[in-house]
């Protein structure tokens, strides 16, 4: 082989590798995006069914209930306008409590019950998860517009 064609083959190999890798990355990326919805959007049916997504907001005061097994927890998440009931089985973050911000990730059941696979809360007393803040801000903005 001439040095020139060798070089071309090497370059071609590297480019092919690169294209393959990028294709792989983009496909995986497309499949694993998790969208975020506010409780209002979920209540309006804008959230996808059968796909994992996130809801952010405040934990509705007085809504946390433990099932008889002591492990399954039920609570509701709200953006002050709409309330979405959530079921979760697993350990809750330390700073998860009523009236505080939280983000839940999971799927919507046909009965309107959201089954969470992951619950995120803030990690600091003076801190609110941006998604939860966003949901509340959205709801309050809408409330103001409606009043006017």
């Amino acid at each position: 082989m001439k040095p020139r064609s060798k070089r071309l083959m090497l370059l071609g190999g590297a480019v092919a590798l690169l294209i393959g890798a990028v294709a792989l990355v983009l496909t995986a990326f497309q499949e694993n995006l998790v969208f975020f919805h506010t409780p209002t959007e979920v209540a309006e049916g804008k959230a996808p069914s059968g796909r994992t997504f996130r809801i952010g907001g405040l934990v509705e005061p007085g809504s946390i209930k433990r099932a008889a097994d002591g492990l399954t927890v039920q609570f509701a998440i709200t953006d002050t306008a709409k309330v979405i009931p959530v079921t979760y089985k697993g350990s809750l973050p330390d700073l998860f409590s009523e009236g505080k911000g939280a983000v839940v990730q999971g799927k919507m059941g046909p009965d309107g019950q959201f089954t969470a696979s992951e619950v995120l809360a803030k990690h600091d007393e003076n801190y609110m998860p941006p998604e939860a803040q966003h949901a509340v801000d959205q709801a309050q903005k809408t409330a103001k517009t409606v009043k006017q």
């Binding site: 070089r7 590798l17 990326f29 975020f36 492990l71 007393e125």
Partner: protein, 657 residues
């Protein structure tokens, strides 16, 4: 008074950093030795002032001076001394001061250990480091002054976030910062090379130990951070693909590529432009990591506060650094072209494969980390990218890297006979696939992921033995002992680091396949079973600490009727912050960890207890330790010092002249 001294000292440091950033560069362009030599003195003075300033801040924290805003928000008089000290960097301002101090420390190290560099090159390196330091000190003083006072002083502090009151806090941030900032030296060398147009084997040889040492710090910092998350966050996981973890992982990936590409540049003169680009990239990613973590755009333990002005400043700094260095690169790189040619089957080609794949892996992490931020910034909605994405991408990208990793050392530089290489590696490859699949059956977890993981681990171990064997066989005549001693430290560094990857993969594959966990409700005397272990709940007692109240459970762990450990997980409540905290308790073993955490107490008096079985998880940290150890060996190789000795007389002569 003390904080004011610290503040004043920081301003002096900024002035010196600016002098260090400008004067030597002017001197280098006009070829004035007097101006060039200002760099050293300015760098050393700058370090002293920053260290003094850091000392003042630490003093205020230790003495609980709550008229200092930062101490009032992040410390408490009842906090143990060690966490009053680490509290200095447990916040935005203090951690940036630590960042600046690391940079000054690296700069001083360059002035001390690279005395033999040509004066003009040294001047440029110090100039670039001085400019970077000016940017950060300015950022610190303008937007995040750690010495702000409050009037009147607070009677008591608000305490450090309890998650940060942990031994991990003592060591994780300083190591990680030394790693992040360490790439600034590789960056400065690259920019100096672009400025001077000198980018030869000698340049690569100067850069290599610095890059390797920075990489060692970063590896250790990431590993310790991961271990900390494992026991402190209480979920029994060791890596979450959290954006902040990704922020440290990206410079690591590119830094790894850089170390390998520097090797090619040194030995064969090839990949020059690419090496420079990687050095710029690794440092830019370190800066971006700082931006992501410090600007508050991310939800994470590391995001202390949200202040758009700060984010904007770091972003501007980032844009300036990347913009200027890429412009310089575009302007000067064409003059660097050339270098040794190489064949399809050659050491260079295998390292090229390594570089391409590591860069793509880094790009995929970048995409997954930044895309949600872009979408959010453009108001197109909020999304997140979960661990499944990273896992899907990483397995196929890293598999060829690891296969190549053990082929590369068999292949000769410049060009080799493909059949010769195949004859060397095929038996090992076949054996490791057989072992991997057999291993998956043996542990009773037959999935392609487990089989692949075990095959790769087997491949690394077999390959390591084979490479060592080959190395010894190449030097015939002498006895085995003297042949072993004859191998240079750099080679052992490569060998240990690669072996570390094998050990790491064993840990990842086995903990991923065999781990198990349950959550149970337990009353005193209850038992639960997991993975052949019996857990007996002995009840809960009060166990107050210096600045928290705690409930401590006692859980006996036995196997086959023999009790071997008593675990004491705690549920703490930190009064000053009003924050509950779960403190897991772990029985660490070479082959498995047994991990227990304490959840909430239920109305009937029972407690929710999380039980975790984590086989081979220690192998992950042992693997990382081997990698870091390998880096230390590589950086300590004699030839870097020999080079210094050889060039010393020349340098002395120049100075005399």
């Amino acid at each position: 008074m003390i904080p004011e001294l610290g503040h004043f000292s920081l301003i002096l440091a900024l002035i010196l950093a600016f002098v260090q950033g400008v004067v030597p560069l002017v001197g280098a362009s006009r070829n004035r030795l007097a101006l060039m030599s200002v760099g050293r003195t300015a760098a050393q003075g700058q370090f002293l002032f920053i260290a003094f300033s850091f000392g003042c801040l630490t003093w205020s924290f230790i003495n609980s001076d709550f008229s200092l805003q930062l101490a009032a928000s992040n410390s408490h008089s009842a906090t143990p001394l060690i966490y009053r000290i680490t509290g200095v960097w447990g916040n935005h301002e203090g951690s940036l001061l630590l960042w600046s101090m690391s940079l000054a420390l690296w700069t001083v190290a360059v002035t001390v250990f690279s005395r033999n560099l040509p004066e003009i090159f040294m001047a440029r390196v110090l100039g670039v480091l001085g400019l970077v330091s000016s940017g950060f000190l300015l950022f610190l003083l303008v937007t995040s002054n750690p010495f702000d006072r409050i009037l009147p002083g607070a009677p008591e502090g608000r305490d450090l976030n309890p998650l940060l009151q942990d031994p991990g806090m003592i060591i994780h941030p300083p190591l990680l910062y030394m790693g992040y900032v360490g790439f600034s030296v590789a960056f400065a060398f690259a920019i100096a090379a672009l400025l001077s147009g000198r980018m030869d084997a000698a340049w690569a040889r100067w850069s290599r130990p610095w890059t390797t040492v920075a990489w060692v710090f970063l590896t250790a910092g990431i590993a310790i951070g991961s271990g900390w998350a494992y026991y402190e966050l209480g979920w029994g996981g060791w890596w979450f693909w959290d954006p902040v973890e990704n922020a440290s992982f990206m410079p690591w990936l590119l830094g790894t590529a850089l170390m390998h590409s520097l090797a090619v540049t040194e030995k064969r003169g090839a990949f020059r432009s690419w090496t420079v680009l990687l050095a710029i990239g690794a440092f830019s990613l370190s800066l971006m990591g700082t931006f992501l973590v410090r600007s508050g755009v991310l939800t994470s333990v590391h995001a202390f506060a949200t202040d758009p002005a700060r984010g904007l400043f770091v972003l501007a700094l980032l844009v300036v650094v990347i913009g200027v260095s890429l412009t310089l690169f575009a302007w000067r790189a064409p003059t660097l072209a050339g270098g040794g040619s190489f064949g399809l089957v050659s050491r260079e080609a295998s390292l090229l494969g390594n570089n391409v794949l590591l860069s793509v892996a880094c790009g995929s992490v970048l995409l997954g980390t930044l895309y949600p931020l872009f979408i959010d910034a453009l108001n197109l909605g909020k999304i997140s990218v979960g661990p499944p994405y990273f896992e899907t991408v990483f397995v196929p990208l890293m598999t060829p890297v690891i296969v190549l990793m053990m082929i590369g050392p068999f292949v000769r530089w410049k060009g080799d006979d493909g059949n010769r290489v195949l004859r060397k590696v095929v038996p090992g490859l076949v054996a490791s696939v057989v072992l991997g699949i057999g291993g998956a059956f043996a542990i009773g977890h037959v999935t392609w992921r487990t089989a692949l993981g075990l095959s790769l681990a087997a491949w690394v171990l077999i390959g390591s033995v084979q490479i060592l064997w080959q190395r010894l066989a190449d030097r015939q005549g002498a006895g085995t002992g003297s042949r072993l001693r004859g191998i240079p430290a750099a080679w052992w560094g490569m060998w240990f680091a690669h072996l570390g990857i094998g050990v790491f993969i064993i840990g990842v594959a086995l903990v991923g396949s065999l781990n198990s966990q349950i959550q149970v409700k337990m009353l005193s005397g209850d038992t639960a079973q997991l993975a052949g272990y019996t857990f007996t709940f002995r009840g809960v007692a009060d166990a107050p600490g210096p600045n928290y109240a705690a409930a401590r459970a006692t859980i006996d762990v036995s196997r086959g009727g023999v009790k071997f450990a008593t675990l004491t997980p705690e549920k703490r409540f930190y009064e000053a912050q009003g924050m509950p905290m779960t403190e897991a308790s772990i029985d660490i073993g070479p082959l498995r960890d047994v991990y227990v955490n304490l959840g909430d107490q239920l109305e009937d008096g029972a407690w929710v207890v999380g039980l975790f079985y984590r086989p081979f998880i220690s192998w992950i940290w042992v693997g990382c330790t081997l990698m870091a150890l390998g880096g230390i060996f590589a950086a300590a190789d004699r030839r870097y010092r020999r080079l210094a000795e050889r060039e010393a007389p020349a340098g002395a002569a120049r100075q005399a002249a």
